[in-house]
């Protein structure tokens, strides 16, 4: 087998040693279950930086530990879909079986028990990672069996659950764009005759807009990168898929990874890049081997490396960069910082990645699904793609459906499908509060059921739903305030922490929501929630803070009755509601 030629990267791009920082930290973490003081000193010396800077990197990522995290480190998903599938029972079972408390290890140091946000398995919750191997559809009995086996010394890799793809639907009577058979190299073979101009043209004609959530026209990004003079150029595949409830990229990488890698090659050819990087979230460590296999297959076939696809002078190869637990690293500039071995803090818009991206070089960052589509556009041909979907939004879209529905999983729907049709397909049970594109997307109610899911509106009057890839369904038995508090907690912890409105704002929002839950809120509290949400949206530095209050604002708007029932209507007295008993409870402990 042809291994990745390690010299390849050195020839085209001298990556500074520090770019290996995350890999090194992973090596320390995996060998001992934590990163020691000596490790910190070693790295500081190696990269000639201060120790506090190394500590800063370690403490940014929640999968890195400075204290022993157990021979078996368990990460239980705490996202909303896990909560509605019995999270608290599962947590109790883990505590009981392992003897570990949340955030710590058991007295023998065998098990470490930690909570983590969505691990991309919302269609098979409750689920957890043990030493980064997935365990899905958990119940108390199953947990007992797992822990018993691990105690007996059975290796984790022998007992984990290989996650199912759960592809529930592809367009009826038509070939699936994403999941139809694909022979590696077919799309690359078309490049020589198309030339970069032809690729850009094909993307333009199919109206391809980025599938990472922002829907930026892909051809414009590629064109801008193509026009950059500076070389070498970089192609980055964003496989960080951190938006709670989203798992489409997981399935693409598991089922059709060739289409993703080939899309990156097409991009490299088009913009003239010589170096590729897949930034894979640590939650998907179990997919790394699969991707490596395919990369090697591509190298073997001469589709990666020197003169890729027998195109003279087109040299391109790809490496995988593992993340280490941080949602914001899905934001493209934070991702680049992270890949450079730093804290994943988003950059300002002083430069765009196409101008100065990875190592300040021109860089295109695209989502996994975007690359897949590119490959299939070349493979199927523009005309064929245009027969799917609706005129302004041709083609199909992958939706990850989960929550209160009978058939959670992957739905490849044609653009233009209405919410109602989608809900019927997945067997939604009594849907009430529907989250589209996760917490940072919008909240839908049944009033929205006739709206089409599309990239662009056909008519200016049309209220299309621009779904980034997740549909999380909640029925009436779920409490909206619980959902919103779960989201607020998520953002409070996942904010990178460098800009005020997001770092402090999410914390403040959480406090306010707690007031509502405690029955202390009044009309002014609701008004303030709205104003402060808008403030965060207007002033935050990156998309995280800008979208963190999307669900909240929508919910306040669409579920007004729900909130009105929960607020305290000020009486004439101007005395506000205050729980004196609760406030003095702690002091009562000192009564002798």
């Amino acid at each position: 087998m042809l291994e990745m030629d390690s010299n390849y990267f050195d020839t085209f791009l001298q990556e500074p040693p520090r770019t290996k920082m995350l890999d090194r930290l992973w090596a320390f973490q995996k060998s001992k279950g934590y990163i020691s003081d000596a490790d910190v000193t070693t790295l500081a010396k190696k990269y000639d930086i201060s120790e506090v800077e190394v500590e800063g990197v370690i403490s940014f990522y929640h999968f890195f530990h400075r204290k022993p995290a157990g021979k078996y480190t368990i990460y239980l998903n705490k996202s909303m879909t896990s909560q509605i599938r019995g999270f608290s029972r599962i947590l109790e079972a883990f505590k009981r079986e392992t003897n570990a408390e949340v955030g710590s290890i058991d007295p023998t140091g065998t098990f470490g028990l930690f909570l983590t946000p969505c691990i991309g398995l919302s269609d098979q919750e409750p689920s957890a990672l043990i030493n980064f191997y997935p365990f899905t559809n958990l119940n108390s009995l199953k947990i007992r069996e797992i822990i018993t086996k691990l105690k007996k010394g059975v290796p984790v890799q022998d007992i984990y659950d290989k996650p199912k793809d759960n592809i529930q639907y592809t367009p009826e009577g038509k070939e699936s764009i994403f999941f139809s058979d694909f022979k590696p190299g077919t799309a690359v073979a078309k490049l020589a005759s198309l030339e970069p101009k032809g690729v850009i043209e094909a993307l333009k004609q199919t109206n391809l807009a980025g599938r990472g959530g922002a829907f930026y026209p892909t051809w414009m990004k590629w064109q801008a990168a193509m026009d950059e003079k500076n070389t070498p150029k970089i192609v980055v595949c964003n496989a960080d898929e951190g938006e709670p409830g989203t798992f489409k990229d997981r399935v693409l990488m598991n089922k059709v990874p060739e289409t993703v890698i080939e899309g990156m090659i097409i991009c490299a050819y088009t913009i003239g890049a010589s170096f590729g990087l897949i930034y894979l979230r640590a939650e998907y460590t179990w997919l790394k081997h699969r991707l490596e296999e395919v990369l090697n297959k591509y190298r073997e076939k001469g589709l990666l490396g020197k003169n890729c696809g027998e195109i003279t002078g087109f040299d391109f190869d790809i490496r995988i960069q593992m993340g280490a637990g941080s949602y914001v690293c899905g934001e493209e500039t934070a991702l680049l910082e992270s890949a450079e071995g730093k804290r994943g803090e988003p950059r300002t818009r002083w430069y765009y990645p196409v101008q100065r991206g990875y190592l300040q070089l021109p860089t295109v960052v695209n989502n996994v699904e975007t690359f897949s589509v590119v490959t299939k556009v070349l493979d199927f041909g523009v005309d064929e793609i245009l027969t799917y979907g609706v005129p302004k939004s041709p083609g199909t879209k992958i939706i990850s459906a989960s929550g209160d529905c009978n058939k959670p999983g992957i739905y490849e729907i044609e653009w233009g499908t209405t919410l109602k049709e989608m809900l019927e397909l997945c067997g939604a049970k009594d849907p009430w509060f529907i989250d589209e594109s996760g917490p940072s997307g919008t909240v839908l109610s049944m009033d929205d059921e006739d709206r089409p899911i599309a990239m662009f509106a056909e008519l200016s009057s049309e209220q299309h739903i621009r779904c980034g890839g997740a549909l999380t369904i909640f029925n009436k038995s779920r409490d909206i305030i619980d959902i919103l508090l779960n989201y607020a907690d998520f953002y409070k912890q996942e904010s990178c922490g460098i800009c005020t409105p997001c770092r402090a704002g999410n914390f403040i929002i959480e406090r306010k929501l707690e007031r509502i839950r405690g029955g202390l809120a009044n009309k002014e509290d609701i008004d303030e929630l709205k104003q402060w949400s808008v403030l965060m949206r207007t002033t935050s530095r990156c998309g995280l803070g800008k979208t963190a209050t999307n669900s909240l604002l929508n919910a306040l708007d669409k579920f007004e009755d729900y909130f009105n029932e929960r607020i305290h209507v000020s009486e004439k007295t101007k005395n506000l509601k205050f729980d004196l008993e609760e406030a003095t409870r702690e002091y009562e402990h000192f009564k002798n």
Binding site: S59, T348, G497, T500, I508, T539, T573, E586
Partner: protein
């Protein structure tokens, strides 16, 4: 000199060198845009504090990360933008634990100064009271995490002679703080350390033996403001109708130090005029214990730390037509709220059981039916009752208090000087 471009700021056309930072260009042309993290020599700009948010070509965004380009339309001073910028600074006060009266940086502090310049009387946000440690471990510096606004200046700009960073962010989200490297810090010269202290826009970086050098009253911002006066929007200027009628005032000191009451007495001979115009009902000034009638105005000093405070405050709300919070303790908890970063139990155990001056074996945490029960934390008055007006300060200047009172009771014009508004 580079190419020049035409831009407009608040409708005024300006010719500026292309590609320059918008904050600089605006400043040179007399527009005040508040900034806290901005530093002219750091490239790319930090863009962390967001207090320079303006509208650029119709879209809100920070001015500090904008390069001037042809045709750029900038809006700085409309009421919405001013309020956004004010809110961001208020958020910093709510997020940190800022006790200006006991802070070494007071008067030299950019954050405090910005509070004054933007006319902040109260933070609209609830104080978060997050527990933060003070790091005394470095050789020269003390790092006061309660005051850090995470502006990133020190992170990028304080480096040793051999190019190593002395500061770096640690953790993430609401747990983010700025960590200091003791080894690197020790390599800094005294002058470099002082430079780091001066670069910090707040009192978070202190150098031992250097932080109190300059006397209060002679500090950078002590006499220096862009504002001619401190007209405070809460107190609307009104036309006085008819002649002055006598009014009744009640006052109370809850969890406060009586400093605000002392300040009220500070108007010297004006007090004699005032006595003609007001009668005091329930108040420590008159020692009247119970309300005898409905009052026109209630003045509250201090927040609520026990159940008796809550009852008193509620009685004031019932008995006073207008209720004013005077001083920081009433407004957000103030000094007594220093305990809010820890649990009540911890606080009592430290004070009554573990304190070194306590007599060993003879310690008890007081609890008696006749003692008012302590609350789990100190609450600001506005968390318990609706407060109509706020007079900030610790304590507020006597003139400030009485001008506010005269405005509220007799519609007198309200206008105070910087020296009357500034209390540190």
């Amino acid at each position: 000199m580079g190419k020049h471009v035409n831009i407009t700021i608040d409708g005024r056309s300006i010719l500026a060198e292309e590609g320059r930072n918008l904050v600089e260009v605006a400043r040179e042309n007399g527009f005040f845009i508040p900034t806290l993290c901005y530093f002219d020599h750091i490239d790319p700009p930090l863009g962390t504090c967001r207090t320079c948010t303006c509208r650029i070509n119709g879209k809100p965004g920070p001015a500090c990360t904008e390069k001037v380009r042809e045709g750029m339309m900038v809006e700085v001073n409309d009421s919405e933008l001013s309020d956004i910028r004010k809110a961001l600074v208020e958020m910093m006060f709510a997020e940190g634990n800022h006790f200006c009266p006991s802070c070494e940086k007071s008067g030299n502090c950019d954050l405090q100064h910005m509070g004054y310049e933007l006319g902040i009387a109260i933070s609209r946000f609830p104080h978060l009271f997050k527990d933060r440690l003070i790091d005394y471990n470095a050789k020269r510096m003390v790092l006061e995490h309660n005051r850090c606004i995470k502006c990133m200046r020190c992170v990028v700009d304080v480096v040793t002679d051999d190019g190593k960073r002395v500061f770096s962010y640690q953790n993430r989200g609401n747990e983010t703080y700025v960590g200091i490297d003791y080894e690197q810090e020790a390599k800094l010269s005294r002058a470099q350390a002082v430079e780091a202290m001066n670069l910090c826009p707040t009192g978070a970086i202190m150098v031992r033996g250097e932080s109190m050098g300059q006397p209060f009253g002679e500090r950078k911002f002590d006499r220096n403001s862009i504002r001619p006066d401190y007209y405070d929007k809460q107190f609307k200027a009104k036309k006085r109708k008819g002649k002055l009628t006598k009014k009744t005032i009640a006052t109370a000191s809850l969890a406060g130090c009586f400093g605000c009451h002392m300040s009220m007495l500070d108007i010297d001979t004006d007090l004699l005029d005032l006595v003609e115009l007001v009668s005091f009902d329930k108040s420590p000034i008159t020692d009247i214990k119970n309300f005898s009638k409905q009052c026109d105005l209630g003045i509250i000093e201090g927040g609520c730390c026990n159940e008796e405070n809550v009852e008193t405050l509620r009685a004031f709300r019932e008995k006073c037509d207008i209720l004013v919070s005077v001083g920081e303790c009433a407004i957000w908890g103030g000094l007594p709220a220093m305990r809010n970063t820890m649990s009540l139990g911890e606080c009592l155990e430290e004070a009554f059981l573990n304190c070194v001056t306590n007599e060993e074996g003879n310690t008890v945490i007081p609890y008696d039916e006749n003692l008012p029960k302590l609350l789990d934390k100190v609450y600001s008055c506005r968390e318990i009752v609706k407060i109509d007006y706020f007079v900030p300060g610790c304590p507020p200047d006597a003139q400030h208090i009485w001008k506010a009172v005269r405005n509220l009771l007799w519609d007198e014009n309200y206008s105070i000087l910087y020296s009357e508004f500034k209390y540190d």
